[in-house]
């Protein structure tokens, strides 16, 4: 039982990272921009959040954890947005190839985070900030209510924030004018333009805000999932790619991204929890094969969905295409 609970806790935590990443990318892609820079953006967000919390903690005599938390969230969001802004300027204004720009942003973001991260590490391999206590604070009282309390109420606030954000984005996309305009821009920018929607502004806003949201995924990884520890790591990159994959998996719907991310998280941690649950022990090389499961499942689901083609499950029609009004 404990094993199962631990598994669920791990699942939700892990899912939240890629959920943030994917939600940001969904918003970005809905505006017709395919931003492959999500890994870089998550690096930027994660690092900025950590750095600010860390510097605040060790430079301010009166350290208030809550302030550290707010600073971290805001700075993570802003730093990631800055990454999005670079991408936006190059692809929207300069109309450059989105794929290459995104990949370059991935390199850049990873570089920035690890380069400056090395200054904070100052020769050590890991360093930690205390702000993770705020991020990981469980809901008081409710989390103490036995098993349901443990499964439902013992996560940091960002887990609930992610779910709420997913529902909010779903609502925004489908039930508001902003969402309608945004979807129109991604589907057919020329039509949206003719309807009086400011295509450039929407693309910029969606891409930058989307990047900000993706950046929160990086923040969550460092300050919650990873217990506030910064270490030079390649893992964020892999998580960023998973977030991009989750967008396709969720067929560009934030609500689907919720269960998609948890499903993936569950399968991702399968190797550590399922076998002990069943009381089986295997050698390490077999564990690796079990770790393959989430990817294989993704492929299988992908094939099944491709067999039944639905118009609503297709990517935005203008995804990847720069808009130039006077194109003839």
């Amino acid at each position: 039982m404990e094993m199962l609970i631990a598994w669920i806790l791990r699942t939700v935590s892990f899912g939240t990272i890629i959920l943030f990443g994917a939600m940001g990318e969904i918003i970005t892609e809905k505006s017709g921009n395919l931003n492959l820079g999500v890994p870089g953006i998550m690096y930027l967000g994660g690092f900025a959040g950590f750095a600010v919390a860390y510097l605040y903690e060790f430079s301010s005599p009166q350290y208030i954890p809550f302030v550290g938390m707010v600073l971290a969230v805001v700075c993570a969001f802003l730093a990631a947005m800055l990454g999005g802004l670079i991408y936006s300027f190059i692809t929207i204004t300069l109309r450059a190839n989105q794929n290459v720009t995104g990949l370059a942003l991935s390199i850049f973001g990873q570089g920035v985070a690890n380069f400056f991260g090395a200054f904070l590490l100052n020769g050590k391999t890991v360093t930690q900030t205390a702000v993770h206590h705020v991020f990981q604070a469980k809901i008081p009282f409710l989390s103490g209510l036995g098993v349901p309390g443990q499964i439902l109420f013992s996560y940091g606030f960002m887990v609930y924030g992610a779910i709420a954000l997913a529902f909010f984005l779903q609502h925004l996309l489908n039930r508001t004018r902003v969402g309608l305009n945004l979807r129109a821009v991604g589907e057919n920018a020329a039509t949206a333009d003719a309807a009086g929607v400011n295509v450039t502004r929407y693309k910029y806003m969606a891409t930058c805000l989307g990047a900000g949201i993706s950046g929160l995924g990086g923040l969550f990884y460092v300050l919650d999932y990873n217990n506030g520890i910064w270490a030079t790591t390649d893992q964020i990159e892999a998580l960023g790619w998973l977030a991009v994959a989750l967008v396709i998996f969720a067929t560009w719907k934030p609500r689907n991204a919720i269960w998609g991310s948890y499903l993936f998280g569950m399968l991702y941690w399968l190797y550590q929890y399922l076998l002990p649950l069943l009381g089986i022990t295997v050698s390490s090389y077999a564990t690796d094969l079990i770790q393959m499961v989430p990817y294989v499942v993704t492929i299988v689901v992908l094939i099944i969905t491709s067999l039944r083609k639905k118009q609503e499950d297709q990517p935005p029609q203008n995804l990847g295409i720069a808009y130039f009004r006077e194109e003839r």
């Binding site: 979807r183 929607v197 118009q311």
Partner: protein
Amino acid sequence: MTDYAIELRHITKTFGSVVANRDVSMFVRKGEILSLLGENGSGKTTLMNMIAGIYYPDSGEILVDGTAAEIRSPRDAMRLKIGMVHQHFKLINVFTAAENIALVMEHKGKYSLKSVKARAREICDQYGFDLDLDQKVYEMSVSQKQTLEIVKVLFEGADLLILDEPTAVLTPQETERLFNVMRAMRNNGKSIIIITHKLHEVLEISDRVVVLRKGEYVGDVLTRDATTAVLTEMMVGQKVSLNIGRSDPRELHIRLAVRHLSVLNAENVKVLDDVSFDAFGGEILGIAGISGNGQKELLEAIAGLQRGAEGSSVIYYPDDDRDSTAEQLLGKPPAAIRKMGVHLSFVPEDRLGMGLVGSMGMADNMMLKSYKEGHSLLVQRNAPRKLAREIKESLGVITPSIQTPVSRLSGGNVQKVLVGREIAAAPTVLMTAYAVRGLDIHTSYTIYRLLEEQKRQGVAVIYVGEDLDVLIELCDRILVLCGGKMNGILNARKTTKEQVGLLMTKLADKEGKDR
């Protein structure tokens, strides 16, 4: 206070080195239906796009209601109560009708699909539109999409409506309904500009006609003073002899026998339904019908690009004789058909999306169908280069070089490249779909003469067209399609436009077939 809804003064617009509009000045009165007439490529759409805020003029000014206005974007146009229905519909396919309408609302106030629907419903009732507001656009027919576009523009509260070639895709009945709506709108005090190149429609619907030629303003005429002859001359700039010089067919020989041909689309709907006919070498067989009634599927099925339904067959007779060899073409991909030695040429409707590779030059496009010849692993570029130069020379293709990507050429030149290649393949069957769409009158006649020439050489020509006058003048027989069904084959020398038009819209009464 002025009597003009909009006035253009000395508008010039260029695209690179191409002048689309040069020093155009014109006006529209309030409560007037104005026809903007001109050949394809005369700059009508570009001019209107500047009013609608899609393009911005290089020089000149636009006055709305007598006041100078800067129309920088469609949104500005909307604020000035100008609305345009574009020829290529500006609709979002995955949205419902109501969502598409909601998209154009002034971006203020609370967003509520419900109130949008209510107001749209009102507009529909007022003008008698039949529109399902919850239907997705990708499920709509062309005429439904157009209705939606008009409702959209009315929803914006436009006082000046621009309709770009609205009748091109409509049946005569639908056209009549549209005209009634337009009259009703005029009576409500709205001004309307209709872009068209169909003279009889101009005469029927408009109050006044403005003619453009090669991007320049030619003049305006009150419709009641206008005649077809006058308008044609204004449009073309000179008296054109519209004589194709049709020859009488000689030595007809059987080439293709299409039997019970049916084609299903992706949704398993029959888009072509039990079509049977013969095509003979030495004649031009016209295919008439409103666009989207199975013409595309018919040609593509013969060319091996569509699968025929059960029981369909397309027999090819290589030896001019029904009794000797007969080859089944259906079910074979284009490569296999070519391997059989069948010289089938096909000029598809979508020139750059299907017939040619836009990013390649003339030379590389010449070998699109023949690149596989020979056993070498490498492509042979000498012959295509030579051919490209020949076609450039003989058809007068205007291009900087035969290596210039064909997507940079004008529509007429693109078509010359395509038709030139298909004819150079020495076909026994030559199929063309809307071969002159978008071409100026001179290029059109060049194409007609090329087809006539092919016919004289004994080629079986199949010509899908939309202009009934041309079909009757060019072809020997005309097959009429309606709703994917064959509505009869007419002798072009004996039939009239009215008769063809009738068959295009009504279901067959099994007469009217000759041969």
